[in-house]
């Protein structure tokens, strides 16, 4: 055996030994007997992770989840998952699950009883209800989010509740609202089966939405032609399969969209019949506050819905605005070759093609996120690549119920259930009516959005002194951690309550930690990116004293009611959740007492109470029992004939959407201008508020990797995923690495005006950023890139721009 062979052998042995070390935790139990069946009870659930919403079957045996399979009958994934989904059941079994409530005493968390924990929260909120805020999640189940929303907006009479979806979906929602007058995509995943051209706008679906990505790419194996264009800020796994890859300079995606619009206008598309018939040309009313650091001016933008909706412009003005964006000019600004801009415009102009644009965090985590989302819809409207299967502009989501719970249940600080704006007095009245509350209970003021909420919390004397966090990890996922989270350490009188399943960066600063039941340890329902609600039943018991988040909210609400807190009373003086939990004979089910929580299906009670809200903006949901049997349904779900509930694949399209009048073709029945027309927007390209300069010469981009989901709380506890991607890293271009004297594995310090982080370099690794830029994923709680990112946000959506900031690098 020569040296090399020996080394190779040793290495293989080391790998085998490593595998042997891990695998006992992976390895299956002793072999069973097939003749008796395997004794596994299978039940359906959507995957716990991203917004794709894959159908998974989970197998339970002896009270534990032991196996998973992809649901063949789920229209989303048709029997295929990604590696996270195939291991989703393992997230329940990390050894450090939180199993008892804990209170911080002298800096240490000590176990307490649930009774004491509930009493602490009751007293804390009752003492200063206006200084309390709730920070929730696009991972809340629909009933959980609904209960929390009612608790705060109906019970406390203010709107300081916001979900982490503010960090991921807010710009998409604002873009839909600005363009269609109503939120959420018109198309659905079926568009992936019909498109002939697919354009990525700053996303990496091969890793972030792998099931949807392969749904398109696998068509090519079967002989379908799909031209795949990847507009990206770094070379990714998606780029490997693209026909054209173009790197654009961060923030210049608006210029690229305008470049396409410029060519479409030149090709006479403003004269196309659909433009006048279905659309209006729009632009913003006023200049936005140019300096996003001036928060007061910046925040004021949302108070002016007029600015969100904009104003009409003439054809001539529209043409004049676009004049500047010639392909050559756009190439100069963005770096995308003029030839590719021409190609995209040609494809969009070709009625024989079906062009699908899709995007996720690129256009959303953007200081011009609302504008960019609006432009994407607009170029599809202008070109006519809209409203036909495969021709659409589709906004992907990152969380399993960002649509279902954050947007539809309206857990945002400016919304009521059913995506009804709180600023609208009529909708406040409707909500008070449905909740049986006295008039005027619901505040007419928009609550604090996420960034503002944490800023107030982390400021001495700020307007918020208590935050209750559920199902999310702001200690890792908020931008500018030093300012928005870690500053809490030095503040006096602040109190952080965290409901979670594992210790996290957030529980590290929590004053009270509540152990939650997760995923299939409770009933649940999620709504995915294509308007699809999916329901599941509890399959196994939670560990120790872990309890569902909805129960926690009900228990606190009841404790406050019992203590005489006026807000927890409805207009008859009954508890605000009394109607939710009444039996037919009028007696109340004591679901606040956990021993009785499962006497009824509390989820079903909450969901049925929520349903009437969904009809107001034509987001109709079917009865709970229908979802219990279905593999998910896309709203509006309408009862065509008694007992026959039908989903809607394409909204606003005649023959597809039950609310579109026959003979109209397309009808945008929530139009901002009340004339059934949607908008074709014009927005200018503007430079990012922070661009590389002499002091901070690099672009930093952040994102995810395939194996881990968001802050890694769950996936880092799944051995096959953790081993496969054990820690964060920084991707650097080889030329920059040479200049920095850095090799793969060397430690690099990445530093912005806000903070710094030292982590290993990976050169020519999974992603390859162009020269002058670098990339760091955010899943690793030990290497938190959000120490470095900035909290500047879009003026309308208030969504921060995690995707780009200026940094400097040095070898550590």
């Amino acid at each position: 055996m020569n040296d090399l062979d020996r080394r190779a052998f040793l290495k293989t042995s080391a790998m085998a030994a490593a595998a042997a070390m891990i695998l006992p935790h992976l390895g299956s139990a002793a072999e069973g007997d097939a003749q008796a069946g395997d004794g596994i009870r299978w039940d359906k659930a959507p995957c716990r992770f991203c917004g794709t919403g894959c159908g998974v079957l989970l197998g339970a045996k002896d009270g534990k989840i032991v196996a998973m399979q992809a649901d063949k009958e789920a229209s989303v994934n048709k029997g295929l998952c990604c590696v996270k989904g195939y291991h989703v059941g393992l997230i329940l079994y990390g050894q450090d699950r939180l199993t008892v409530p804990q209170k911080r005493v002298d800096g240490k968390l000590v176990p307490i009883s649930w009774e004491e924990a509930i009493a602490i929260i009751r007293d804390r909120i009752s003492a200063a209800p206006a200084k309390f805020a709730m920070y929730g999640s696009g991972q809340w189940t629909i009933p959980e989010g609904y209960a929390a929303n009612k608790f705060v907006k109906g019970g406390l009479g203010h709107n300081h509740i916001d979900p982490n979806a503010r960090l991921c979906m807010a710009s998409a929602a604002a873009g839909f609202n600005a363009t269609y007058g109503v939120d959420e995509p018109a198309g659905c995943y079926d568009d992936l089966d019909h498109c002939t051209v697919l354009i990525d706008w700053g996303n990496n679906p091969a890793e972030m939405h792998p099931v949807l990505f392969s749904r398109v790419m696998d068509r090519r194996l079967k002989g379908d032609k799909v031209l795949y264009i990847d507009l990206t800020t770094r070379r990714t796994r998606s780029s490997e399969q693209a026909d054209h890859v173009a790197f654009f300079k961060p923030n210049t995606d608006l210029a690229v969209a305008n470049g396409i619009a410029h060519l479409l206008v030149k090709a006479g598309f403003l004269d196309k019949p659909w433009v006048d018939k279905f659309f209006r040309l729009r632009q913003r009313v006023a200049e936005y506050a140019p300096d996003p650091t001036k928060r007061d001016v910046y925040d004021a933008e949302a108070i002016h819905p007029k600015n969100l909706i904009g104003k009409d412009i003439t054809r001539e003005e529209y043409v004049k605005n676009l004049e500047f964006y010639t392909p050559e000019k756009v190439e100069e600004i963005s770096g995308v070759p003029a030839s590719l801009i021409r190609l995209m415009a040609e494809k969009m102009a070709d009625p024989n093609e079906r062009v699908l644009s899709w995007w996720c965090m690129g256009p959303n985590q953007h200081t011009r996120g609302t504008a960019m989302n609006s432009l994407l819809h607009s170029i599809h409207h202008l070109s006519g690549q809209w409203g036909k299967p495969g021709a659409s502009a589709f906004s992907l989501t990152g969380q399993p119920s960002a649509c279902g719970t954050a947007r539809e249940v309206g857990t945002f600080s400016h919304l009521l259930p059913g995506h009804l704006p709180v600023l609208n007095p009529h909708y406040r009245e409707v909500t008070e009516e449905l909740w049986h509350l006295p008039k005027g209970r619901i505040s007419d003021k928009i609550g604090f959005h996420t960034v503002k909420m944490w800023e107030e919390f982390c400021t001495d004397g700020g307007a918020i002194d208590t935050i209750w966090v559920q199902v999310t990890n702001p200690g890792q996922t908020l931008p500018h951690q030093n300012k928005l989270f870690l500053a809490k350490k030095e503040r006096k009188g602040k109190f952080l309550i965290v409901s979670d399943v594992y210790p996290t960066a957030t529980t590290a600063l929590a004053d009270l930690v509540l152990p939650s039941a997760m995923y299939v340890e409770k009933n649940g329902m999620y709504g995915n990116a294509e308007r699809k609600q999916q329901q599941w039943f509890k399959m196994v018991e939670p560990p120790g004293q872990a309890r569902p988040d909805a129960w926690q909210v009900l228990a606190v609400s009841k404790a406050m009611f019992d203590a005489g807190f006026p807000g927890m009373k409805d207009k008859d003086g009954e508890w605000i959740f009394a109607k939710t939990l009444k039996k037919a004979d009028g007696s109340l089910i004591p679901a606040w007492d956990f021993a009785h929580y499962y006497d009824v299906n509390v989820d079903e009670r909450l969901f049925e109470e929520y349903r009437p809200f969904t009809k107001i903006k034509h987001k109709d949901l079917a009865p709970y029992a229908v979802y219990a049997k279905a593999h998910g349904l896309r709203w509006p779900v309408v009862e065509k004939t008694p007992g026959n509930w039908e989903e809607t694949l394409w909204r606003f399209v005649e023959g597809k959407d039950p609310y579109v009048k026959p003979g109209t073709g397309l009808q945008f029945y929530h139009s901002n201008t009340k004339d059934d027309k949607a908008f074709i927007w014009w927005h200018p390209y503007e430079a990012a508020p922070e661009e590389p300069d002499a002091e901070y010469p690099f672009w930093l981009c952040t994102g995810r990797v395939l194996e881990h989901w968001h802050s890694g709380t769950m996936t880092m506890r799944v051995p096959p995923l953790q081993r496969s991607m054990p820690h964060a890293y920084i991707e650097i271009h080889p030329d920059d690495a040479i200049a920095l004297h850095v090799r793969s594995g060397d430690k690099v310090t990445v530093e912005s005006r806000r903070g710094s982080l030292t982590l290993p370099a990976w050169i020519k690794g999974r992603g390859q950023p162009p020269k002058g830029s670098c990339f760091v994923p955010f899943f690793d709680e030990r290497l938190q890139i959000n120490l470095v990112t900035k909290d500047y946000h879009d003026p309308f959506s208030k969504q921060p721009d995690f995707k780009k900031c200026a940094v400097r690098l040095r070898k550590a």
Partner: protein
């Protein structure tokens, strides 16, 4: 047959040339093996490979595939011949089942990738796993399901050679995966056994039961191509459906039975 013979000649010349080069290279002084300076993983990942002295380029493998034996004679091997007898040995079967289980979180999970993979070249998997291949002592099994474009979507490498070493969070996990369901049932002695596992993602029986399968799982008659002609799938396993069992007691008033608590 002029053309084929020409090709043969060219091919033969190629073989001779390769052999000559190999011989010349083989004559080189046995120099001390090149030692990577920053750990085994970084030489393939860094931008610039460390320069190797010409004298040291003695034909030894470098780069990601250096563990592979790269002589023509042994590079590509063959599995057992189609008609070879396959003895049945319960010990071998148990070993094979255990080996399978060690590479999966549970029976039916996509197996981990037991070797390093290039971070991005996810389509090259089919070079070996498309039809199955024997390379030195290693067997690359044929994929058991239809082709997909994004292999690493489902299969994660057991350990990724991320640079800078592992410093991530490590938490024990107490999950115990479902075991293999055991052997199929036979209606009578000598009857073809039923399929003791689901066929979802395992449509291609030869992946495990063909000549390149693990000894102990191999079919005694791999030349037969229409497996389900004789071996029936198990209804108990195959038709495990979520809506078959009675709803749980907490299903609620309309979704399931009402609880009478």
């Amino acid at each position: 047959m002029v053309v084929p013979s020409k090709i043969l000649v060219i091919g033969a010349l190629g073989v001779v040339a390769v052999a000559l080069v190999g011989m010349v290279v083989g004559f080189g002084h046995p120099a001390p093996g090149w030692q990577p300076t920053t750990g085994a993983s970084s030489d393939r990942l860094s931008a610039a490979l460390p320069a190797v002295h010409y004298r040291d380029m003695d034909g030894k493998a470098r780069g990601p595939n250096r563990a592979y034996t790269s002589t023509l004679a042994t590079l590509v091997g063959h599995g057992p011949a189609l008609m070879d007898a396959v003895p049945f040995d319960p010990t071998l079967r148990a070993e094979a089942v255990a080996r399978r289980a060690a590479r999966r979180a549970y029976n039916g999970a996509p197996p981990i990738i037991p070797h390093p993979v290039d971070a991005n070249d996810v389509t090259s998997c089919y070079q070996c796993h498309g039809e199955g291949k024997v390379i030195g002592p290693l067997i690359a099994p044929k994929i058991s399901h239809q082709r997909y474009t994004n292999c690493t979507q489902c299969h994660a490498p057991v350990v990724t050679e991320t640079p800078g070493g592992s410093q991530g969070l490590v938490v024990e996990n107490s999950f115990v995966g479902a075991a293999s369901a055991g052997r199929g049932s036979r209606a009578y002695v000598g009857a073809p056994p039923t399929i003791p596992h689901t066929t979802s993602m395992r449509e291609n029986c030869t992946s495990c039961h063909g000549t390149l399968g693990l000894t102990g799982l191999r079919s005694s008659h791999p030349w037969r191509v229409n497996c389900t002609q004789c071996h029936a799938p198990s209804a108990v396993l195959e038709q495990a459906r979520f809506d078959d069992p009675s709803p749980p007691p907490w299903a609620g008033e309309t979704a399931g039975q009402t609880t009478g608590k």
